[in-house]
Amino acid sequence: MKAPKPIRLKRAFGPVVEGVALVSTEGFSPRYDLDRWSGLISRPGHALEGHNIRDKILITPSAKGGIAAGWAFYDIRAKGIAPKAFVFGVTNPVMVQGAVFAGITITEGWSASPYDSIRTGDIVRVDPAKRTLTLLRRGNPG
């Protein structure tokens, strides 16, 4: 496989992380969509219903509502079910405040749609200092 060009990210916080991508075509809220005891996406009909976010790199187009996310990220981190990173197309301050408070990598905005190149199961790297999202290798979907 030819090494693909990294996707440039607009804004980013946190340490460099590598992990399994979980790619959602739908926005995300840790309050509306997530079972905060198991890490499973629990809202009926969500594009990722039944998937677990634990240790994943969650790629999602947008953030949904939810002030409570600020504490929720800290809570799921302490419970060991947090993702390694949130990669948002557009986000809102709550997600950023919550991720910074919990010490979870978070980014917003991309130079090219990751949906064209990255699939769920692929191994990716997020580098906040360089503001890049890189596909490292293909993985197993699901």
Partner: protein, 405 residues
């Protein structure tokens, strides 16, 4: 503060604010005069509680008036809702902890109706998205969504990084919404919020509403704002001739051209209602919550429930603030509501009720009927099938167990 001479809690608070400010490219801080924060055991969990205990232990105090949002337990109802006693104890400890930090535990998500009304241009740090969109839009005050830890940080430092809605550039309208609908009920305004919010999920999308057939009430703007924030993650809207930064269409857009114009008609609103389905399960749960009910809403519910009773096997929940409930009691509204068999909870929001998932299973609830488009959206994680209906229809469903459509 950053050197730690005011204690570790203040130091950490400012560090958090600096990182968040850096993320958004903030160039400075602005002082805030009022803070509203979310902090309850259901939302915070044990980890958040421990964090707060450490902060309180260090002697940290809020330097600006800081109030709390709705919480997960009404202590008068722990028994009958079969909530976890251990969690109720933790909630009490948490409240004590917040009070030690000089937080005013008012426990309401309608602070803008009951506690504090900031003026045009006033910088505040509010949590609960519904409070923020109301502050920005209806009062012309300035706030971003401030999550629990971020709001607490603002309370401790008395400032916030200046990005987002603190800056003029983000407060201008981005698209226009022509209202060609009657919008006679609170739920209709929520439905508008759903239509507009779902199709524009962006914190910085600022709709400009035109075409209102009359001046909307505070409760109608509350439902609209809560739904826009919930479905669209939006923090601000304008309404020409109604909200303070929109005396004219031109002013609302601040010289920019709308990116698009959409229209909402009666047919669109009806489509929203038609989009819900009972899935052949009983209609045995009706909830008025998210946001808490104002005194005027309590009055309306008392009138709608007069001489009626909640159907056998059904339950009707109403949540409000301590202050509103006290006034409703004094005015006789509470008696009318409770005589009809409804349960009125104070200081809470239904969707964060401690033990709600277990309660749902135990009570055999599948459908949740409400006049709040926000509640219909956010309670999905607890596996409710939600149904939005107009206020009087919700009361009819509660009293008959049958849908009216």
């Amino acid at each position: 503060m950053l050197r730690g001479e005011q204690g570790r809690a203040v130091q950490e608070a400012l560090q958090l604010q600096l990182e968040v400010g850096r993320f958004f490219g903030a160039k400075r801080f602005v002082p805030v005069s009022n803070v509203h924060m979310m902090g309850d055991i259901e939302v915070m969990g044990d980890a958040g509680k421990s964090f707060l205990e450490r902060a309180a232990q260090s002697g940290a105090k809020c330097r600006q008036p800081t109030t709390t949002n709705a919480r997960c337990i009404d202590f008068a109802h722990v028994e009958n809702l079969k909530q976890d006693k251990d969690e109720a104890r933790k909630e009490k400890e948490l409240i004590a902890c917040l009070r030690r930090m000089d937080v005013i535990t008012a426990d309401t998500c309608i602070n803008y109706q009951t506690l504090y009304q900031p003026h045009l241009g006033e910088h505040v740090a509010w949590g609960d998205t519904g409070t923020v969109i109301y502050a920005n839009s209806v009062f012309g005050a300035r706030s971003n969504f401030e999550a629990g830890p971020a709001a607490l940080a603002a309370g401790l430092t008395g400032r916030v990084p200046a990005y987002g809605f603190h800056l003029d550039e983000h407060r201008r309208g981005t698209f226009q919404v022509n209202l060609k609908a009657d919008l006679a009920d609170l739920a209709d305004w929520g439905a508008v919020g759903k239509i507009v919010g779902s199709s524009h999920q962006d914190y910085y999308a600022v709709p400009v509403f035109t075409g209102m057939k009359r001046t909307p009430t505070a409760d109608e703007l509350k439902q609209l704002g809560a739904a826009l924030a919930s479905y669209g993650s939006m923090g601000m809207f304008h309404m020409v001739g109604v909200t303070p930064e929109a005396p004219t269409l031109k002013a609302a857009f601040g010289g920019r051209r709308p990116k698009e114009t959409m229209t909402v008609t009666n047919r669109d609103i009806e489509k929203v209602y038609a989009g819900y389905d009972t899935q052949n399960n009983p209609l045995n749960l009706v909830v008025f919550s998210g946001p808490q009910q104002s005194l005027l809403e309590m009055k309306q519910l008392a009138a709608l429930l007069k001489d009626r009773h909640v159907a056998k096997g059904s339950q009707l929940f109403i949540t409000t603030s301590n202050g509103v409930k006290s006034a409703a009691k004094e005015l006789g509204y509470l008696k009318a509501i409770e005589d009809a068999g409804a349960i009125v909870l104070e200081g809470v929001c239904f969707y964060i009720l401690q033990n709600l998932p277990q309660m749902r299973v135990r009570e055999g609830w599948s459908n949740l009927v409400t006049n709040s488009a926000k509640l219909a959206n956010i309670i999905g994680a607890h596996k409710f099938n939600t149904i939005l209906r107009r206020t009087a229809e919700c009361v009819d469903i509660a009293c008959t167990g049958r849908d009216v459509r």
